[in-house]
Amino acid sequence: MGQQTTNDKTSLTEQFFPNVDWVQMWEATYETIYMTALSTFFTFIIGLAIGLLLFLTAPYNMWANHIVHFLTGSIVNIFRSIPFIILIILLIPFTKFFFGSIRGANAALPALIIGAAPFYARMVLIGLREIDKGVIEAAKSMGAKTSTIIWKVLLPESSPAIFSGITVTSVTLVGYTAMAGVIGAGGLGHLAFLHGFQRNNPDVTLVATVIIVAIVFLLQWIGDTITAKVDKR
């Protein structure tokens, strides 16, 4: 009976998706997940650091510094306003220098991270600003060092914003990987464009889209679960 079902299934998939090469499809899925995971990880670290820097150097805060605050803020705003597809093009010389080629999943990482980190840094900053000033003052009154305040007050107290922010950012990054794919980074976007669109195989585009949607749903679900778990307000 099991044999029978498998045969039916094989024939069904062949019937509906005649042009889909499943090995190629899973490979592309792996590449998309790889690019999303790595770029999300680095965006998280870099965005968090920039967000903290923006917060701490703001007027009246612990490292209040007008120049650093202004420069960091300006860089964030500039990179945030460059459309991603243009950012990729701008970064081509840089990518060539470091990776020797602009093709492949790794070559897409700098653009993905530079595109997403400023966006995430802003969200982190908003989360940090929502922390009750009184709590920071209480920690100071207990004799806490700035590093203690960062690790034990700022980060835990803004954790819901940190996690919901990285969820939104990772979803955006899935979209960015698809765009990067069009110029040769690989992944599902690449597959959908090259094999689906250019060779006129709508079934390939459809399957690639469904998998991307599934990845986005999964990311959103993981993110929502973590955010709900850390939020004890």
Binding site: V135, E137, A139, S141, M142, G143, K145, V153, P156
Partner: protein, 346 residues
């Protein structure tokens, strides 16, 4: 214990200079509960923040335990702060931590080993009466319970001084009393000096030994709570005292009372200490040919004994009223004859 010398703090806002604390000199004794009362903007919060270095003075000095707190910086200030802890109006607990983790926080800062931290937290939770709520998050607690966590947290590093900025102002009257009782208990058991900032006379009356009245950055009057209550000198102090006795509330109705009692005298009696225990009015009626009826009354318990006021209408012959008044003076009751629209010391 705490010695404040010509302390001054200026802020500059939009090129305008604001003097929040103005040449303030004050000594607070070891082990006392000292209250500072004043209206909004008097500079109370700025003053208390100068005591633990959250604010640096423009000039002047603060000594706590013979250690110069003002102008202290960096590591030495951080360590010194562990012995001068603070509780807040809005509790300022970390919502991301449970009750026990919140209390543990200052111990982590002080670098106390984990095992000892757990022991101390356990002890503190018992001290403030929060047993069974160790694993709760602040969002699951009432205001009073949150302040208990705040107090336990403040006591964690065994401080010499506990500073409270409007520590009960966000609480209802009953919870306020429970928290004040806890503070007295801590003061008596651990001998910690407590400085409380408030705008509520009730707090001063209930637990403070001494009080300072603050206005425009200056201390305009200071002394033992009962003395200040009995003999307020400044207008602002009188206003605070009447906040407690409720005389102010009845003053608009004095007009009506005078219309009611066209004859005789209205007398405000101020009782302090033991005299309240004695049946003063009974004695009055028994010994003099006067009638006495209570128009308004109010009695408060302070740390050093009861304190209260009575407004009494006395009628009778002029001579008898005069003698009655003299009797009242002789037994240490302060008597003021209220005239229509004003008061007059007799």
């Amino acid at each position: 214990m705490i010695s404040i010398k010509e302390l001054r703090k200026e802020f500059t806002v939009n090129d305008k200079k604001i003097v929040a604390v103005d040449n303030l000199t004050l000594d607070i004794e070891k082990g006392e509960i000292f209250g500072v009362i004043g209206y909004s903007g008097a500079g109370k919060s700025t003053f208390i923040r100068l005591l633990n270095g959250l604010e640096q003075p423009t000039s002047g000095e603060v000594f706590v335990n013979d250690k110069k707190f003002s102008h202290m910086k960096g590591e030495s200030l951080r360590i010194a702060r562990q012995k001068v802890s603070m509780i807040f109006q809005h509790f300022n607990l970390l919502w991301s931590r449970t009750v026990e983790e919140n209390i543990e926080f200052p111990l982590e800062i002080a670098g106390v080993p984990k095992k000892e931290r757990k022991q101390r937290v356990h002890h503190l939770i018992e001290l403030v009466g929060l047993k069974g709520r160790e694993k709760s998050y602040p969002s699951q607690l009432s205001g009073g319970q949150k302040q208990r966590v705040g107090i336990a947290r403040a006591l964690a590093n065994e401080p010499d001084v506990l500073l409270g900025d409007e520590a009960t102002s966000a609480l209802d009257p009953e919870t306020t009393d429970a928290i004040l009782d806890l503070l007295v208990d801590i003061n008596e058991r651990l001998g910690i000096t407590i400085v409380l900032i408030t705008h509520e006379m009730h707090v001063i009356q209930k637990i403070c030994h001494r009080v300072a009245v603050m206005e425009d950055g200056k201390i305009v009057e200071t002394g033992k709570v009962l003395d200040v209550f009995q003999n307020p000198q400044e207008t602002i102090t009188k206003r605070f005292v009447s906040q407690l006795t409720g005389v102010e509330d009845t003053l608009p109705t004095l007009e009506t009372i005078f219309q009611h009692y066209p004859n005789g005298s209205l007398i405000q009696l101020t009782f302090v200490g033991q005299t309240t225990e004695e049946p003063v009015l009974t004695e009055l009626i028994r010994n003099f040919q006067v009638t006495a009826s209570v128009v308004h009354g109010n009695m408060n318990q302070t740390k050093d004994g009861p304190y209260g006021t009575l407004i009494v209408h006395i009628d009778g012959e002029t001579k008898q009223i005069h003698d009655a008044l003299q009797y009242l003076q002789s037994i240490d009751v302060k008597a003021e004859v209220l005239n229509n629209g004003s008061t007059n010391n007799e």
